[in-house]
Symmetry: C2
Subunit: 365 residues, 2 copies
């Protein structure tokens, strides 16, 4: 039986925000109500700021459109993408909570093989509150799960694990394929429920999807930057990938864990592969050089905070990837701007941040 | 529905041997008959050579006891463990086939969640015949499985994968725990069927269990040495772990893949944790130094065959692990002896090998 979010430790109600990049279909919030309504929502409207998003009664939320972002960040708003779901990272910056869960509005409550609704948020919290094991592979996967443990041959000194920074959830129904694969396999649906959570090993990169993702903001927040995508940029659909590559090398450097697997959401809508191809095609070339770049990145020992790591990474991006395309100079600069903005918004009390921006807060509960 | 082994590509009937370290319960072969009987068995008797193992009618097999091993290998027989299931690697050496599946005699046919019998061997063959993806993590796991593919953000240049050398299967019911965990959780049973196969990423070590294991002998055979365990040795229950560490660093060096996950077998019997503790306790200390050793091993570019890699590894074992215990000098020497014996047995025609040993072959089919 699905456990409603209200049975979670109450502590987390005050420690977690839900960040959503626009909401095109309000049924989305209705379906998720039992699971999401106990938490505060931060909605970052990715398109036309004159459009009004009506959030159903019973939700506690704040909503930012482009005008708000410009007003709050001033010139630094240039680091936030426009007309692209990459803008969601502005919500990560504005949150004052320890944990963030971000989900797309075409993701619905999935069912497990027994037909029970899956409380995705609860599983993310479970993932994040238990340690990760990036230094050695456990063949029974997450050793902290009920009914599992470390297997024979697992070093005892590694069994305490490390803090988990990221919980990456998956998708039933429409899989997260690139445009070429969508074009080749338009009808393929993911029907395989893999009952598993695992740590992605140290030194291994992965394609992080932002559809169904939770993270510990206090551990990795400043690296959860979704880059420059969408309006005025030569690339799209690489926002979460970029964040994933940056986060993973920083987690590896700082000894933090990244988990993937459960929970599933039901991804309803395959986006248009022709539109996607246009957004992606540069990325498809570029990733052939970006990934080897991230695979060889070394961060200096002196970089001990996420911010320091991220600034160092921005320097290496500028130095090593500008040869791929001048876009990476712009991106590297935006990475620095992002950290400046993050620091400014998050260094004072939350009162200061609000004073900077007067976010539209609707307390409907 | 379980697919009987007879529906496999016939080619593989002549390309695969099944290696079993002794058989204490003949019901084992009866239960596996639909799946294993089309293949040739190599039984390596791990205990008293005067005991007679009666293999049921309908199986094509060869059987080696300690006297056979001594006669075939002469002084080099010192590298094969006595009174320990580690002796199974002698069967790997004697096989003339491309693929080997090895299974313990307390492993039974498992059932999937729908109640269908799992044809473990068929899944191993599927795993080994499809490529591995060690250089980048695919969040939908094995991209070559039906209904799956590479996800968005997976570099296209890596989508052909690399040859798979090892398929590591898992266990329902009694999990493969070490003695301390067995003592602490005597009643824990693995009931979670994880419908998944994945590549263990490059640079990541794992605890390889020999209970339910298949490999491509032509790709990795000479590294599948199960070390010096059992009678006269200070350690037991690390035979498969040792082979796993060695194989993984060599696979990483040579660009070969290791898969883990499906298939499951049903592991019936928890071995005695007190006996296991006695066998394991040195290993529990030693692995704290062995694993960092394997994590830092670098093999020279000039090592381009498994044999060359293994000899190089033996040198590093002697140099870096002898400080842990003098046992590692003996083990390093045995690694060299193993390669000498492997080369001798496998360099000539299979006729030569048989002439050396006159194995007891019973062709009952």
């Amino acid at each position: 039986m699905a456990v409603p979010a209200t049975s979670l430790p109450p502590l987390l109600k005050d420690e977690l925000d839900i960040v959503i990049p626009t909401i095109r279909n309000l049924d989305f919030l209705e379906q998720w109500r039992p699971y999401l309504s106990p938490y505060h929502l931060i909605i970052v409207q990715d398109g036309d700021p004159t459009k009004v998003i009506k959030v159903p009664e019973g939700y506690d939320y704040e909503l930012y459109n482009r005008n708000d972002i410009n007003r709050i960040l001033g010139p630094k708003a240039s680091c936030i993408s426009f007309k692209d779901s990459a803008c969601r990272c502005f919500g990560f910056m504005m949150s004052k909570k320890k944990y963030v869960f971000t989900i797309d509005d075409d993701c619905w409550v999935a069912k497990d093989p027994q037909g029970n609704e899956i409380n995705a948020l609860e599983q993310h919290i479970t993932n994040i509150l238990s340690p990760s094991t990036p230094f050695f592979f456990n063949t029974l996967y997450d050793p902290y799960r009920k009914g599992a443990d470390f297997v024979r041959g697992y070093p005892f000194s590694l069994r305490e694990g490390v803090p988990t920074a990221i919980s990456h959830g998956l998708w039933l129904n429409v899989p997260d394929y690139d445009a070429p694969t969508q074009l080749v396999k338009p009808a393929e649906r993911n029907t395989r429920f893999v009952d598993m959570v695992m740590t992605i090993p140290k030194g291994t990169l992965f394609p992080m999807c932002g559809m169904n993702l939770a993270f510990d903001r206090s551990l990795i927040g400043p690296a959860m930057y979704f880059g420059l995508m969408g309006d005025g940029q030569p690339i799209g659909r690489y926002d979460d990938m970029w964040a994933g590559w940056c986060c993973k090398v920083i987690c590896d450097h700082l000894g933090l864990g990244v988990k993937t697997g459960l929970p599933y959401i039901h991804h309803s809508k395959a986006s248009n592969p022709f539109v996607n191809l246009k957004k992606e095609y540069k990325g498809i070339f570029w990733q052939e050089e970006i990934i080897p770049f991230f695979q060889q990145v070394q961060l200096p020992k002196e970089a001990v905070t996420v911010e320091q790591c991220y600034i160092e990474l921005s320097k290496q991006v500028k130095e090593k990837l500008t040869g791929v395309d001048p876009y990476f100079t712009k991106l590297a600069d935006a990475m620095v701007t992002w950290i400046d903005a993050w620091t400014e918004i998050n260094s004072g009390s939350s009162k200061t941040a609000v004073a900077n921006g007067t976010p539209k807060v609707s307390k409907s509960k």
